[in-house]
């Protein structure tokens, strides 16, 4: 008798455990992936650093104040990663630079997923003339190399943080539109979409609840890779002087200015370059992990 009671309580416990929301379930699966967790940890450090930058290093006193006596000093106890050509602490500038890079990266990808994703979903779902019109416009955009398009947009709008996001965001809209359209095309032919219609779901509901969640996996992977790409584009644009304007710190701009001193002061270019590399690696690890975690079919 007692054993059946114990069994009962165990099953109710199990039941409670099973009552997890979808996102809790995704998180549980993501946690199992060690590489993804490593990527997430790196990102967490970066984000924390970016958020608490004002408490770590004072912008006016450390980040942009010239100190020409200490220019191009190598790593030391005082300046952990050395100083740049104006004697500014590179670590402090990198922490402040992360704010720009992460913000531009995430928001630019947000813009392109939002615009590209909806255009692609509409084109794929409705097909016909609408599809042709949307996708031909996307093809025109795609014919222009992304970075050139971004350069053109920034030159037209003028260099500022917001214009940078818009430029980088718009230049990658076509690739998201294509990815989403391709998966929507294959998903909308599946029987469960017909079944959804047969229970009286309308188009909005079918797109939002049945098609998008099934098309999400490639978008998330492309999105995390895209954040990395956007950070790289920001760095690239800053490198050629169209991105963040001096004296504001930005990884790409730091890389660009350090280039002139590569022979005498390796640390000026190396550390911002490493920061870009590690961030992109972390984002890719998280992207891969998320793709696996989001796919319930891969669940063990």
């Amino acid at each position: 008798m007692t054993s059946t009671l114990a069994d009962k309580s165990r099953t109710t416990l199990k039941k409670k455990n099973k009552k997890r929301s979808q996102w809790a379930e995704v998180w549980r699966r993501l946690k199992k992936n060690k590489m993804a967790m490593l990527g997430l940890a790196i990102l967490a450090v970066l984000i924390l650093g970016a958020v608490f930058a004002p408490w770590i290093a004072d912008y006016d006193e450390v980040v942009i104040k010239l100190d020409l006596v200490n220019r191009l000093q190598g790593p030391s106890a005082e300046n952990l990663l050395g100083t740049d050509e104006f004697g500014r602490d590179i670590l402090a500038r990198m922490i402040w630079g992360a704010r720009v890079s992460l913000r531009v990266g995430i928001l630019a990808v947000g813009i392109s997923i939002l615009i590209g994703g909806s255009l692609g979903a509409i084109a794929g779902f409705y097909g016909g003339k609408l599809d042709t019109v949307i996708m031909r416009i996307m093809d025109i955009f795609l014919a222009i190399p992304g970075i050139l398009l971004a350069i053109a947009i920034v030159s037209a709008l003028g260099p500022s943080l917001i214009n940078l996001m818009i430029a980088i965001g718009i230049s990658s809209v076509p690739s998201y539109a294509r990815i989403v359209r391709a998966s929507v095309l294959s998903i909308r032919e599946q029987e469960f979409i017909e079944a959804a219609r047969a229970i009286g779901a309308n188009d909005t509901r079918i797109i939002l609840k049945h098609i998008i969640p099934n098309a999400l996996a490639p978008v998330i992977v492309q999105g995390t890779l895209g954040v990395a790409g956007a950070i790289l584009s920001t760095a690239g644009l800053s490198f050629i002087g169209l991105g963040i304007q001096p004296p504001a710190p930005e990884w790409g701009a730091m890389l660009a200015t350090g280039r002139a001193f590569l022979r005498d002061a390796w640390h000026v270019t190396t550390f911002p370059g490493l920061a870009i590399m590690i961030t992109i690696l972390a984002l890719n690890l998280v992207g891969d992990g998320l793709r696996d975690a989001l796919d319930p079919r891969l669940k063990q």
């Binding site: 047969a198 229970i199 779901a201």
Partner: protein
């Protein structure tokens, strides 16, 4: 057999075509179906006879383009479904008429839990809170013999038979008047088939739901249906009550179908299937669509399209023999 004799569905002269580059496919040609509340109709025919198109036509889900309903009317509870707005039609789908699809493996959304999928149809049609809908979806699962605690599992965690039970739970969640089951057991193995049919039969009786069962398996028909309609090349060539059709099939094609089923009592070396293939639906034969394969065919069959002849109460046959134009006796 049925509890009430209220008319539920009345289809007259329904014609559905698919317009493609290679020509117009006449998938359904002037069919007639009458169904009362609580009754089960078996719609039997070969692959490509237009059974599924008929079902989609009733749901008004024929893919357009290329499909188009070209003629006829579908009267459901007194109103013509071909006249109602898309918005009203949505309120009927899943609520008053619901459909079970052939393959349970693909008719469930792989990234939604089964509980969510049952709750979805309830949320669309009934004014219930999310919690109430979730609770009801668990009840529906219990009703089809799956523990309610599995509502948070995903479709891939279920076997084929259990998935089909989930699909049945979805289709019955809003207590529809009419259930269209499109070969619900074709993708399942035989023991599971029997279980699923049993389940559908019981639930149907419990809720007094009328059903159109699409199948090509006469054995399934004999277990479940009250009435049978045999389809060939988009036409209903014979319709009768279950009893009439099984004891006294009259159309040469129906007789041929029975000839292709092994009989336990007689010893035969070979079955006698209906010879030939279904005609190409873009190029249907003139006159009676079945005449190229019909062992009783005469010249007149190629010229004159037979009318439906009522040879006894509820038993209609579409063949010139019963119009008295050919002198022949169809034997089993």
């Amino acid at each position: 057999m049925s509890k009430s004799k209220n008319k539920l569905l009345n289809i007259e002269d329904l014609g559905i075509e698919y317009v493609t580059e290679d020509g117009t496919v006449k998938a359904v040609n002037g069919i007639e179906i009458k169904l009362n509340e609580g009754e089960t109709l078996g719609l039997v025919g070969e692959t490509g006879a237009g059974k599924t198109t008929t079902a989609l036509g009733i749901m008004r889900l024929v893919p357009n383009p290329p499909g188009k309903i070209v003629s006829g009317k579908i009267e459901f509870e007194g109103s013509n479904l071909l006249d109602v707005s898309e918005e009203e039609m949505r309120m009927i789908r899943g609520n008053k008429i619901s459909m079970i699809f052939q393959d349970p493996m693909t008719s469930l959304n792989p990234v939604m839990t089964v509980g969510q999928q049952i709750a979805e149809v309830i949320e669309i049609h009934q004014d219930l809170s999310r919690q109430e809908a979730a609770k009801k979806s668990e009840e529906m699962l219990e009703l089809v013999g799956i523990p309610g605690s599995r509502a948070n599992d995903y479709p891939h965690q279920f076997s084929g038979g259990m998935k089909q039970r989930v699909v049945i739970a979805i289709s019955l969640a809003c207590n529809p008047q009419l259930l269209i089951a499109d070969e619900p057991t074709t993708a399942l193995d035989v023991t599971i088939q029997a279980q699923v049919l049993d389940l559908m039969n019981n639930l149907k009786k419990e809720f007094n739901t009328a059903m159109i069962l699409i199948t090509h398996d006469l054995g399934v028909v004999s277990e479940v249906c009250d009435k049978v309609a045999i389809m060939y090349a988009g036409e209903i060539i014979e319709s009768a009550t279950l009893e009439q059709l099984f004891t006294n099939p009259r159309h040469p094609y129906t007789v041929g179908l029975f000839g292709s089923i092994p009989n336990l009592e007689e010893e035969t070396d070979r079955l006698s299937p209906v010879k030939g293939l279904m005609p190409d639906p873009t190029d249907l034969p003139s006159g009676c669509k079945f005449h190229p394969r019909c062992p009783y065919a005469k010249d007149i069959c190629a010229k004159q399209d037979p009318n439906s002849t009522e040879i006894e109460a509820q038993h209609k046959v579409k063949c010139l023999i019963y119009e008295g134009l050919i002198d022949a006796e169809v034997k089993r």
